[in-house]
């Protein structure tokens, strides 16, 4: 058991390093070969007429005159030391630039995750295998929400709840009030998808014999759902981590722009526009890191949710020996 976990964690971490290295390399190559004069980009940002000395200064400072492999190696080297370089555009260390923004995005992502999960779970639990019209309404609205692009949803929410009813502030990152709308805009579409997945899973599980036998023991419906069905249905849900990270981080770009919140998303967008190599690289590494981390968490979650996986022999290889 313990070894298994250790082995698992170890394996994950090794794989993780690989992923991070790949991410670093890919971004570097991609952005290195992107057309455009980086020196100009650096003083460029929003800038005007830099004198030749300025350009020379910058080129030297950022080692833009060195061959690509030198730049690549120095990048990897710096990353190893946790130094992601200095932003071309902001003239500050990338770690700092990201650090300044990470909080807001994390806050938003967490809020959205919580809202999305609870919403989808509650709805799925309440409606799975219910009367046709109930399921109809539930899955119908899920479908609509899941099909609504977050940027439009955001506009609608803004127009109705902020501009119209003035229930919530439209802007910025001050306090819970201003978190409500962005979190919803980010969470709802995800909740739609998860809700669908979860209900399908639940309905599969609720058809399983062990559910029937649980019922034959005289358990109340809710008990059956909570004690027996939910746990099984969670597996497909947490399998979708990749989708999650993507949806949240990608969504952040939109939501933060739309609600003019500070955060990684907006940082990234402006960085991409200004070809701010270090920042983009930083954000990519960050998201890759989060991805790796979450995958590890998920694998451990599997062990918690499905104890069978702890001692694989019984289930893992039914084919060993004379199975049909």
């Amino acid at each position: 058991m313990r070894n298994k976990i250790l082995r698992l964690v170890g394996g994950r971490l090794i794989a993780g390093v690989g992923v991070l290295w790949g991410a670093a390399t890919l971004t570097f190559l991609v952005l290195y070969f992107t057309p455009g004069d980086q020196a100009q980009a650096i003083v460029g940002g929003e800038n005007a007429a830099p004198t030749p000395e300025v350009i020379a200064q910058v080129t030297a400072e950022y080692g833009l005159d060195q061959p690509w492999y030198a730049q690549y190696l120095s990048h990897l080297g710096r990353i190893l030391h946790g130094d992601l370089g200095t932003s071309y555009r902001l003239h500050t260390p990338v770690t700092q630039a990201i650090g300044e923004q990470a909080g807001a995005t994390l806050e938003l992502a967490l809020a959205a995750a919580v809202v999305g999960l609870t919403l989808s779970t509650v709805v799925a639990l309440a409606t799975a295998k219910r009367r046709r019209w109930i399921r109809g309404i539930a899955s119908g609205s899920e479908l609509v929400i899941a099909s609504t692009p977050s940027f439009w949803l955001g506009i609608l929410l803004l127009t109705v709840f902020s501009f119209g009813l003035r229930l919530f502030p439209a802007t910025g990152s001050h306090g819970l009030q201003s978190l409500v709308l962005p979190a919803l805009a980010l969470a709802l579409p995800i909740a739609g998808v998860l809700g669908h997945v979860l209900r399908e899973a639940l309905e599969e599980v609720l058809d399983e014999p062990f559910i029937v036998s649980a019922r034959t023991r005289g358990l109340a419906d809710l008990t059956v759902r909570l004690r027996h069905a939910l746990r099984h249905a969670l597996v497909p849900l947490i399998t979708m981590t990749g989708y999650w990270v993507g949806a949240l981080l990608g969504g952040a770009v939109i939501t933060e722009t739309l609600f003019t919140r500070q955060g990684i998303g907006r940082l990234l967008l402006s960085a991409v526009n200004a070809k701010d190599l270090p920042v983009v690289l930083g954000v990519v590494l960050l998201s890759a890191g989060i991805y790796v981390l979450l995958n590890l968490v998920v694998d451990l979650l599997y062990l918690v949710i499905d104890p069978r996986l702890r001692d694989a022999p019984a289930t893992a290889r039914p084919a060993v020996g004379g199975a049909s």
Binding site: G36, E46, T51, A56, L90, H91, T171, G172
Partner: protein
């Protein structure tokens, strides 16, 4: 619309001098709440916090010398004072300098500095401090996008005594003092410049009425009052410390969001009121509105005169004649903007009002001109052709531009099409736009440039300012006209005011002949605020909210 031009746009949009009539007119026009005692009906009271909603042009560096964003001054001026103050009547008035002498040859300026000024970090304001600032502006490490270029003629300076500095220029430069009045050349603590230059971008230390607390990137900048402040400009309404205890500037990129933030009371005032909301603001009894026309070059589409098709002046004139500018501007600004009549705005010193109406909508004329230019044939989709070549012009636009810019582009495109000119709008990334601008790979480019002197025309149209691999220049039209060059050079070097005015009149006439750009509108700086906000002013050096005199009643 290269990044550089984009910058231009913004800078211009910011730097402007509400020259006498300009400011006067506008303020009179909608003076409600501009802080004349009559409006508030009360006398100024100290205390309170003001929250201003800015647009999205957040600088990447708060060093006045280190940025060129249109939001630069509004953010840096509270912190850093300037050497001189640009008066509403166009005169230069004392601020951190009590007086100055200019040598007859215009090459030597001797400044006598205001004594007793202290920077927020305790550093003393003196000749040495001023010298340090000039050198900081010129230092490549500052990566100064603007200040450095503005004081390009600066050679060196000599400390005469504690409070006297003698500045030497390499060539006569008549706008020198005007420029020095702009926030981009505000004064920074010499201590900080010497000991922690890299900290200036994050947290500039000046001598201004407010002390910067925190810059939360992507969100806001916060300040608190500087209690020891008693060296405000003569042009201000009061002396001593500012009235406001605290000040916050929030960046609200989305137009709709910014307006609604004001309407819902999330902020006390907003800059760059979206034209589509101005009517609502004016109609709202709880809100006040103030606007000032930025002096300098109007918002225009520059035509790349260095390559076909716009290397042919007839084609350029034809394009100008084919666009109904007043209809377009009326539409996109909901009647808020006024159509530009020439190549500087009426609020610019030496504006040639005599030339108004010279640029007119005349499709027939456009057709004639194109025929004369040899673009006689038309292809299937009605685009004119010459020896089988379509009359096509490429227009790369930075996607991050305000909606109005794209609207004008699209509507111009439609108008040009009617005349048989095919304008291809492209939206590459900011970076690519910038690169193409450097390479001169464009036919149209949009932008404006606000500065409190007609020297803007030298910046925009002198062949010295065509970008080369040596240096970036602002001559986006890549116009190279011997006669014009000569006029501009003499104008910026002469110290004779009357002669200067005459020269600039000739320049403007010449430009109308050369048609290097389509001038669209004179860009205003429209600010809206709650009625409880008083004396939120737009100083003439360039109109952008100035908080020294501002106070709130309850």
């Amino acid at each position: 619309m290269t990044k550089r031009t984009q910058m231009t746009t913004r800078t211009m949009t910011t730097r402007a001098a509400a020259a006498v009539l300009g400011a006067a007119m506008v303020l009179a026009g909608c003076g409600s709440g501009t802080g004349t005692v009559s409006a508030g009906g009360t006398t100024p009271r100290a205390g309170g916090t003001l929250i201003l909603g800015e647009n999205g042009q957040e600088p990447t560096c708060l060093d006045p010398h280190g940025n060129s964003s249109s939001d630069g001054p509004v953010i840096t001026v509270p912190v850093s004072d300037s050497l001189v103050w640009f008066g509403a009547d166009g005169t230069i008035q004392p601020w951190l300098a009590d007086s100055w002498k200019v040598s007859p040859d215009g090459l030597t300026y001797t400044f006598t500095l205001h004594p007793g000024v202290k920077f927020h970090d305790g550093a003393v304001w003196n000749a040495e401090a001023l010298k340090t600032n000039f050198e900081h502006m010129r230092d490549p490490a500052t990566k100064s996008p603007l200040a450095a270029a503005y004081i390009a003629p600066y050679k060196d300076s000599k400390v005469i005594d504690e409070n006297t500095l003698e500045v030497h220029l390499s060539s006569p430069y008549s706008p020198f003092l005007n420029i020095l009045a702009q926030g981009y050349l505000g004064m920074i603590s010499p201590k900080q410049i010497k000991e922690a230059p890299q900290s200036i971008c994050e947290h500039p230390i000046g001598s201004g009425p407010f002390i910067l607390d925190k810059w939360t990137k992507g969100q806001s900048v916060t300040y608190h009052k500087n209690p020891d402040y008693n060296w405000g400009p003569k042009g201000a309404k009061h002396t001593g410390p500012a009235y406001l205890d605290k000040l916050e500037i929030r960046f609200l990129t989305e137009d709709a969001t910014r307006y609604n933030a004001l309407a819902s009371g999330e902020v006390n005032a907003i800059d760059f009121t979206p034209p589509q909301n101005v009517e609502d603001v004016k109609a709202n009894p709880d809100l006040g509105f103030v606007s000032a026309l930025r002096p300098g070059h109007p918002m225009s589409f520059w035509l790349n005169t260095s390559r076909a098709p716009f290397d042919d002046v007839k084609v350029r004139q034809a394009l100008l004649a084919s666009v109904d500018r007043s209809a377009i501007i009326k539409g996109i600004s909901f009647g808020q903007y006024e159509v530009a009549q020439g190549f500087v705005t009426p609020s610019t010193p030496d504006y040639a009002s005599g030339l108004e109406g010279k640029i007119a909508y005349d499709p027939a004329k456009a057709g004639r001109l194109l025929d004369e230019a040899g673009w006689t044939a038309k292809d299937a989709d009605g685009i004119r052709t010459k020896d089988g070549k379509r009359l096509t012009a490429y227009f790369p636009i930075d996607p991050s531009f305000p909606a109005q810019r794209m609207q004008i582009a699209v509507q111009t495109q439609a108008a040009a099409r009617k005349a048989g000119i095919d304008i291809q709008i492209q939206t590459p990334s900011t970076q690519e736009v910038s690169d193409r601008s450097l390479a001169g790979d464009y036919d149209l480019a949009s932008g404006l440039w606000a500065t409190n002197t007609a020297d803007v025309l030298w910046i925009q149209y002198s062949s010295k300012n065509i970008t080369t691999d040596k240096r970036r220049g602002q001559n986006v039209a890549r116009l190279s006209d011997g006669k014009l060059d000569e006029l501009l050079q003499t104008a910026r070097e002469t110290t004779d005011k009357a002669k200067q005015t005459d020269l600039y009149n000739q320049v403007q006439a010449r430009l109308i002949e050369l048609a290097p750009a389509i001038p669209f509108y004179n860009d205003p700086r429209p600010v809206s605020f709650q009625k409880k906000v008083h004396d939120l002013t737009l100083p003439p050096a360039y109109p952008s909210p100035y908080f020294y005199d501002t106070w709130l009643d309850e």
